[in-house]
Symmetry: C2
Subunit: 132 residues, 2 copies
């Protein structure tokens, strides 16, 4: 019944490794890490990633072509994502901030376009890197 059980074998393997990582993982680094578990080809990784993204279990950090597990249990279906990215140490953190998400989810302009989804990436210096 838990959502995790609806995941297939490869999807579980790959979600697991992404969840355990401390930083966003790139597809081929995931591939390298799961070869001992029998996943041999890029497509196997990319297919799992695609599914996990659809389910909101992971997100893609577009500016880095890398994948992170979703920390904010809010976004079961990933249609509103925001990240902070340190330009020095490259630390990536998912931003969970109601003021921000409320603002963006209700954003409208004069284009007549209906926004269903967004991805926001902030860049700057993290606490540690600011000090140096």
């Amino acid at each position: 019944m838990a959502q995790i059980q609806t995941l297939s074998k490869n999807q579980k393997i790959i979600l697991d490794i992404i969840e355990k990582a401390k930083e966003p993982l790139k597809a081929y680094s995931i591939l390298f890490n799961v070869q001992k578990k029998g996943i041999k080809a890029p497509l196997q990784v990319y297919r799992a990633l695609e599914k996990l993204i659809k389910l909101g279990k992971i997100h893609k950090v577009e500016s880095k072509n890398a994948f992170v597990a979703c920390k904010s249990s809010n976004c079961e279906v990933s249609k509103a994502t925001a990240f902070s990215i340190c330009e020095i140490c490259e630390k990536v953190t998912e931003i969970a901030n109601n003021k921000l998400s409320n603002f963006l989810n209700s954003f409208e302009d004069k284009s007549g376009m209906k926004y269903k989804k967004y991805n926001l990436e902030f860049f700057g210096l993290c606490k540690k890197c600011k000090k140096t």
Copy 2:
């Protein structure tokens, strides 16, 4: 004196083709289009793109790996970009909205991180595609 004059030959050629395009251009499609002008290698394109981005003349649409000319003369240096992207016709438009940029430029959270730059991509249906 005009900023355009500080651009090199290759940079001008590539900015020109991006400005004339009606949609975001991919690097290799740019390459194909400028081969008659003597630009033969990917690196020549990527180097010009990199410089043009730094100058704020163009932006990269991360989710599409494509490049658009900056329309909003506000962002001379591109540190705050926002796009709307239609999921059907793939039309991409740079959003110039003061309420949005003011909100994001002054956004702070409890992470202690100082945000200097952001990129936001909205997805949805454009006016035309909503009707069908």
